[in-house]
C-alpha cells in the first residue's frame, strides 16, 4: 500500500485530533479562568502519573476484553499485589527496588492465577472474575487488616514522585506491549485467537497457555498500578465487597479512543494517547477545581458520546454527505 502525502496528513490528523484537541480545550478554558493548565512541575507530575496508571490499566483491561473476556478483578489485583509487595518489603526491611520487583511479580502471579481459574473452571470470564475479586479483596484484608502503611519511610515512596519514572513506566509498558503483540509468537497467536478462536484452536494453537499469558500480562500491568498507587501516599487501604472494581472503569474511554486511533496507528500507541486524553480531562478538572462527582459525570457522558460516534460513524457520515438510507 502506498502512502501519499494527503494520506499521511490524514493519519496524523486522526492520531492527534482527540488528545491534542482535549488538551487544547482545557488550555483555553483554563486561560479564560486565568489559570495555567500546567502551572507547577507538580501538575506535570500529576499528568504523567495519570497517563501511566491509566495506560497500564487500559492495557490490562483491553488485553482480555478484546478477546471477549471481561475482568472485574483488575482493581483487586493491583490492591493485593501492592499489599504483598509492601508487606514483604517491610517485614524483611528490603530496599525500595525489592518492593517494585515483588509487587510486579505478585501481580503476574495473581493475574496468572486468575487466568488459571478461568481456564480450569471453564466459566465465562466475567463470572470467574467476580469470584476472584471477592477472593483477592478478602486476602488483602486477611493479610493486612486495614491496609498497609509505610508513608513514614520516605525512601519507599519516592517512585511515584518522579516525572522521569512515570515516563519510563509509560515507555516500557508501551514498548513491551508493542513488541509482544506485534513481534512475538505469543502476539501472533493472541491476534489469531482473538479474531478466529475456532480456526486458531483447530490449527493447534494452545489457547489455554495464551489466555493465562494474557492474564499474567494484565496482572503485571495492575501490579505496576498497585505499586504506583501505593508509593503515592505510602498507604494501601483495604477494601471489601467489590470496593476495588472501580479501578477498571478509568480504562474504558482510553480503550475506545485507542481503538479509534488504532486505525491510523498502532493500537497500543492509540491507547496511550487515549490515556493522555483521559489524564488531560482529569488534570483539567483539578485545575478548574471541579468536584469529582462532576468529573465522573462528564467522563461517563464523554464515554457514551464517543461510543455513539464510533458506533454510528457510517450513519453520521451518510447524514452529512446527504445520502439517504432505507427503502421508501
Amino acid at each position: 500500500m502506498k502512502t501519499g502525502k494527503s494520506s499521511i496528513a490524514k493519519r496524523l490528523l486522526g492520531i492527534c485530533t482527540i488528545p491534542a484537541g482535549t488538551i487544547l480545550i482545557f488550555y483555553i478554558i483554563c486561560a479564560f479562568r486565568g489559570i495555567a493548565f500546567f502551572e507547577t512541575s507538580n501538575h506535570v507530575l500529576i499528568f504523567f502519573r495519570s497517563v501511566a496508571t491509566v495506560t497500564l490499566t487500559t492495557f490490562a483491561l483491553s488485553i482480555n476484553l478484546d478477546s471477549g473476556r471481561f475482568d472485574f478483578s483488575l482493581g483487586s489485583i493491583a490492591l493485593l499485589a501492592s499489599v504483598v509487595g509492601s508487606t514483604i518489603t517491610l517485614n524483611y526491611g528490603l530496599p525500595p527496588a525489592a518492593m517494585l520487583v515483588i509487587t510486579l511479580i505478585a501481580g503476574i502471579v495473581l493475574g496468572a492465577f486468575s487466568g488459571l481459574l478461568y481456564v480450569l473452571l471453564k466459566l465465562p470470564a466475567l463470572i470467574t472474575s467476580l469470584g476472584v475479586t471477592l477472593l483477592y479483596e478478602s486476602l488483602v484484608s486477611i493479610i493486612s487488616g486495614s491496609g498497609v502503611s509505610f508513608g513514614t519511610q520516605p525512601e519507599l515512596t519516592q517512585f511515584s514522585k518522579g516525572i522521569p519514572n512515570m515516563i519510563l513506566v509509560i515507555v516500557i509498558a508501551l514498548a513491551f506491549m508493542y513488541i509482544v503483540m506485534n513481534y512475538t509468537k505469543f502476539g501472533f497467536h493472541y491476534a489469531a485467537l482473538k479474531d478466529g478462536q475456532k480456526v486458531a484452536v483447530d490449527t493447534g494453537i494452545k489457547e489455554v497457555g495464551n489466555a493465562i499469558g494474557c492474564y499474567a500480562i494484565a496482572g503485571a500491568m495492575m501490579g505496576m498500578v498497585g505499586y504506583i498507587n501505593a508509593t503515592l501516599t505510602g498507604t494501601i487501604q483495604a477494601s471489601l465487597d467489590f470496593g476495588s472494581i472501580g479501578a477498571m472503569f478509568v480504562a474504558f474511554l482510553p480503550m475506545f479512543i485507542g481503538g479509534f486511533i488504532g486505525r491510523f496507528s498502532e493500537n497500543h500507541f492509540g491507547m496511550v494517547l487515549g490515556a493522555v486524553t483521559y489524564a488531560a480531562i482529569q488534570l483539567g478538572f483539578v485545575r478548574l477545581g471541579l468536584s469529582s462527582e462532576v468529573q465522573s459525570l462528564v467522563s461517563a457522558l464523554v464515554l457514551v458520546g464517543f461510543l455513539i460516534y464510533l458506533n454510528n460513524e457510517h450513519t453520521l457520515a451518510a447524514l452529512f454527505t446527504g445520502k439517504k438510507k432505507g427503502g421508501a
Binding site: T40, N42, H43, L45, I46, R49, S50, T53, V54, S141, G145, S146, G147, S149, G151, T152, Q153, P154, T157, L232, T233, G234, T235, Q237, A238, S239, L240, D241, G246, V250, Q282, L283, F285, V286, R287, G289, S291, S292, Q295
Partner: protein, 419 residues
C-alpha cells in the same frame, strides 16, 4: 428440569408459608426481658457477663480501618477474655437498610444487647431494638439533640457515649488554634465526609474556621463568622469551597471527599504543594493521605485513632497533631448495656443518658506512645479492675451519677486517677 422447578416452588412456598404464619405478631422473643426500673431490688440483679454468658451484637459500618480494628480488638480480645461475653460483629454496613438487617440478625441469634458503631439511621435502630425488647447503646458517637429528645424515654435505649457535636466542633477549633498559636496562617483543610453531609466532619471544619475568625476579625466563610452560620454555609457548599473563604490574615485551600481515585490524589498533590502552605488541618486521617506527600515544613493535624502506623508518622514528622480516639473509649457503653441486661439500667432521671466523651490530644511522639500503649487490647486504660467498679452486683448497685462522672473523666490523666 421438572425436579428443579418443583423443588424451587416447594422451597419458596415453604418459606412464604411459614412467614405468613408468623404474621405481623413478630415482635419476637428478643432479649432476656428483664424489666429494668429505676428502683431495683438487689436480689433481682442478674449476673450476665460475669457468671452467665451474654451475647452482644456490634453494628459496624467499618471493619477495615485502624480505628475499627482497634475497637474490635478491644471488645473481642480484651473484654471477651475478661468477661463472659460474646461480641457478634455485623458485616460491614453500608446503609440504613443493612443496619436494620443486622439488628434483626442479632435478635434472631438471641443477642441481649446491641452496641452501635454505625450511624446511618440511629432512630431506626432504636425503634427496632425497642420493639424487640433488646438493649441498645451507642458507642463512639451520640444522637442529635432532637433525636435524643424523641427517643430518651425508650426503655431499651440505654444511652450514648461519644463525642457530641459540640465536642467535635471544639476538636476542630483546638486543632486550628494549636497551629494558629504557632504563627501559621496558610492552611489546607481536608474536609473529608463533610462533602457527604457527615455532621461530625462539618462541625470540626466549622470549629477550625471559628478559631481563625477569632484570631482575625476580617475572617469569614461565605460571609459567616458565627458557628451556626458557618455550619449552614458548609452544608450548602457540600464541603468546603475555598473561594468562599476570605481573610486578611489567613489563606485556605480545601480537599473534600474520600474518593481515593487518581483525580482525588491529583488534587491533594496539587494543593499540598501550594507555595507557602504551613499546615494541613484534617477532619479525619490526615497523615495517610497528606503526610507522606507533604513537602518539608508543612505540618499535619489529624483526627483519628491511636494506632501503630500513626506513631511512626509522628516520629517521622508526617504528623504533628493528633486528636485521637482511644480504643477503650467504647468500654463505658459496654458497662451500661451489661447493667441494663442485668436489670439495673443506668438512667438519667429515668431517661436514656447521653454523655460527652472527647479525644486525647497528642502533639509529640512520646505522648502518642503513652496513649497508644494505653489503647492496647492487652493492657488498656479501662481495664477490668476499673470497669468492675461500675457493673452492678447485689453487693454494689452503681448509681447513674457515679457512672456519669466515671465516663466524663475521659482524659488520660483523669483515668489514671480512677485506679
Amino acid at each position: 428440569m421438572k425436579l428443579n422447578k418443583l423443588a424451587a416452588v416447594v422451597l419458596s412456598a415453604a418459606m412464604a408459608g411459614s412467614l405468613l404464619l408468623t404474621g405481623c405478631g413478630g415482635s419476637g422473643n428478643g432479649g432476656s426481658g428483664t424489666e429494668g426500673g429505676s428502683k431495683v431490688d438487689a436480689s433481682d440483679i442478674s449476673d450476665y457477663g460475669i457468671n452467665q454468658n451474654v451475647k452482644i451484637g456490634v453494628l459496624a459500618s467499618d471493619l477495615s480501618t485502624a480505628e475499627a480494628l482497634s475497637f474490635r480488638a478491644y471488645y473481642e480480645e480484651y473484654l471477651g477474655s475478661q468477661y463472659d461475653v460474646d461480641f457478634i460483629y455485623s458485616e460491614q454496613l453500608g446503609n440504613a437498610e443493612e443496619e436494620i438487617s443486622a439488628i434483626e440478625q442479632f435478635i434472631a441469634q438471641g443477642c441481649q444487647g446491641i452496641i452501635s458503631l454505625s450511624s446511618f439511621d440511629r432512630p431506626g435502630q432504636i425503634d427496632l431494638c425497642e420493639s424487640a425488647g433488646i438493649y441498645y447503646g451507642v458507642a463512639a458517637g451520640v444522637l442529635t439533640d432532637e433525636e435524643q429528645k424523641a427517643y430518651e424515654d425508650c426503655e431499651h435505649y440505654v444511652g450514648a457515649v461519644g463525642p457530641s457535636l459540640e465536642t467535635e466542633y471544639q476538636t476542630g477549633y483546638d486543632m486550628a488554634k494549636y497551629f494558629i498559636d504557632k504563627g501559621d496562617t496558610s492552611f489546607l483543610i481536608f474536609a473529608g465526609a463533610a462533602a457527604f453531609g457527615t455532621e461530625m466532619h462539618i462541625y470540626r471544619v466549622a470549629g477550625m474556621f471559628e478559631a481563625m475568625c477569632e484570631a482575625d476579625a476580617s475572617t469569614s466563610y461565605n460571609g459567616a463568622t458565627e458557628k451556626d452560620d458557618i455550619i449552614t454555609a458548609i452544608y450548602g457548599d457540600l464541603g468546603v469551597n475555598a473561594d468562599h473563604f476570605s481573610s486578611d490574615t489567613f489563606t485556605v485551600s480545601a480537599v473534600n471527599g474520600y474518593n481515593m481515585d487518581d483525580a482525588w490524589f491529583g488534587e491533594i498533590a496539587e494543593k499540598i504543594n501550594t507555595p507557602g502552605l504551613q499546615a494541613v488541618l484534617a477532619v479525619g486521617n490526615g497523615s495517610d493521605f497528606f503526610g507522606s506527600m507533604a513537602p518539608e515544613g508543612v505540618e499535619v493535624g489529624s483526627v483519628d485513632t491511636y494506632a501503630e502506623g500513626y506513631l511512626n508518622a509522628m516520629e517521622n514528622g508526617q504528623l504533628d497533631y493528633m486528636a485521637g480516639k482511644f480504643s477503650p473509649s467504647i468500654a463505658p457503653i459496654f458497662v451500661a448495656v451489661i447493667n441494663a441486661i442485668n436489670g439495673v439500667p443506668l438512667r438519667s432521671d429515668g431517661s436514656a443518658f447521653m454523655i460527652d466523651q472527647g479525644y486525647w490530644i497528642a502533639t509529640n511522639a512520646d505522648e502518642f506512645k503513652t496513649f497508644l500503649d494505653s489503647s492496647s487490647a492487652t493492657n488498656p486504660v479501662y481495664d477490668k479492675e476499673i470497669l468492675d467498679q461500675y457493673i452492678s452486683t447485689p453487693e454494689n448497685v452503681v448509681s447513674y451519677s457515679d457512672f456519669e462522672s466515671f465516663v466524663s473523666a475521659y482524659t488520660f490523666d483523669d483515668i489514671q486517677n480512677l485506679k
